[in-house]
Symmetry: C7
Subunit: 102 residues, 7 copies
């Protein structure tokens, strides 16, 4: 499956994330709220794009997270990508990632 994931290279400032299993309490101690204004989930970054473009020079501005990072994600939004391993993969823009979990 690693071979498959490696095949997806997000464009620009997009980030491919594998969402964590829905659990009430994660290992990091984050409880996924059911009653908040906006629900969140946790995930692991599997691939990042080159970054958004500097409109002057056309250079890419590198993304602030990298493959392997655990991240907090908004519940809604993103674009879902299904792989053969039946895990839940979602593409986000960098600005949609809420936080890194360390």
């Amino acid at each position: 499956m690693a071979a498959i994931i490696k095949r997806v290279i997000p464009t620009l400032d997009r980030i491919l994330v594998r969402r964590a299993e829905a659990a009430n309490v994660t290992k990091g101690g984050i409880v996924l709220t059911e009653k908040g204004v906006e629900r969140m989930v946790e995930g692991t970054v599997v691939a990042v794009g080159p970054g958004s473009r500097n409109p002057q020079s056309g250079n890419y501005i590198p993304i602030g997270v990298k493959a392997g990072d655990r991240v907090l994600l908004p519940k809604y939004g993103g674009t879902r990508v299904e792989m053969e391993d039946k895990k839940e993969y979602v593409l986000y823009r960098e600005a949609d990632i809420l936080a890194k979990l360390e």
Copy 2:
């Protein structure tokens, strides 16, 4: 619990705040209005992101508040994050923070 909070690192210009208990008069003398156009609450900054990106150079523009600051917050908005300690944590963008309380 401090260990848990340290694990959440907001991205870009996001700020993680622990909201104060709802009280009619805070120790700082701020009365939380019930009749205003937009209600406010008080909180304490627990973690700040690296800041928003300069679209030219890609450098981060540091955030004007820091962990430990007491801040005035809009009642609505932000993204709630629940921790094991049952306190109320909310992620805001820097521009949503209304004022520092000293």
Copy 3:
């Protein structure tokens, strides 16, 4: 009370204003209109933020009014902050202040 007001430090280009009592004719000769498209009120600046950020350098652009200035304010908008002294305090963005009164 001065001690309390000093404790509120607006962020970015926000300005904390104490609204004047509603009076038909102010000492400065400004009659607060009741029939205009947008009603106005008068107030006194009590605290100003560091200013908005220059998106290139991240430096603050200083605000054009200062504590003590008497200002014309739009009737609607702003975020209300109640203090122990029962006066009416409102947070505005710099661009919302209509005029200084000298």
Copy 4:
């Protein structure tokens, strides 16, 4: 009354204008239309702000009209300010002024 008007100092790119009496034909030969898509009125500039801010340097960009200029104004919009002399005063942004009349 001149003393009163001098007391109002518009902020940023705002312009304080005293509207002319509603007349079918002005001395300058401009007939105020009753049937156009957007009706206009004539006025005299009484005070101008320092101008809008250059977002890079924070310097003010001076305004292109000055006190004493006669101007064409849109009928709707602006923020009305009533003075003791019962004339009609309105605050506009520079970009809302349609033309100078010479």
Copy 5:
């Protein structure tokens, strides 16, 4: 009447145009469509403003048409100005002018 027109000096990137008489076929061979998505009319530029402002330096960017130019105009939009000569005058922003006719 030329004296009157000279008195109107558009602000910024505004352009004062005298609309042509409604005719099915203009001298330039342009048939004014009745069935298009957006109907057009022809006119003659009588006065132009100094141009829009460069947000960095505050300098004016000169306008690409000049007094005397015949232009294609959108049917709707603009701000009508009536003069004593009963002709139809309209103020447009430069970007609203569709084409020059030579």
Copy 6:
């Protein structure tokens, strides 16, 4: 008729196009779809404006198509201009042109 077309000089980034006859299969092999989300048509550029303005310097940024180019056009949008020759002419902004056909 060439004389007439030459008389229309689009402003800024506008492009005057003569739409092709509605045909199911063009000479270039492009079949005009009837079932797509957005229908397209083919046309020939007859005149181009000087280009949009650089907001810093006021210089024109030249347009990427030229008179004589065959282009793919969105079915809707643009501003129709009728000429004496009863062909269908439409003014577009440069960014609305979908592709060149060679």
Copy 7:
């Protein structure tokens, strides 16, 4: 048919893509989801434009994908172009391409 495709040259940051046949599992192992928020499809880039324009210099900023690249596409959006070979061709803006597949 290659001759036909070569004839379509997208403008600016547009990309012409030939969509893949709808299949539940692609050769690359990507399962096209039926239940996601936004469904995706796979395609092959057949032609790319010169890129969007630098608003300062007018230079083109090259596009990050090239002819032959396999790409992930949003299900909705884009502008359909039908060719004689009855394949499904769609024009996208560069920012709409979700990922490259390698």
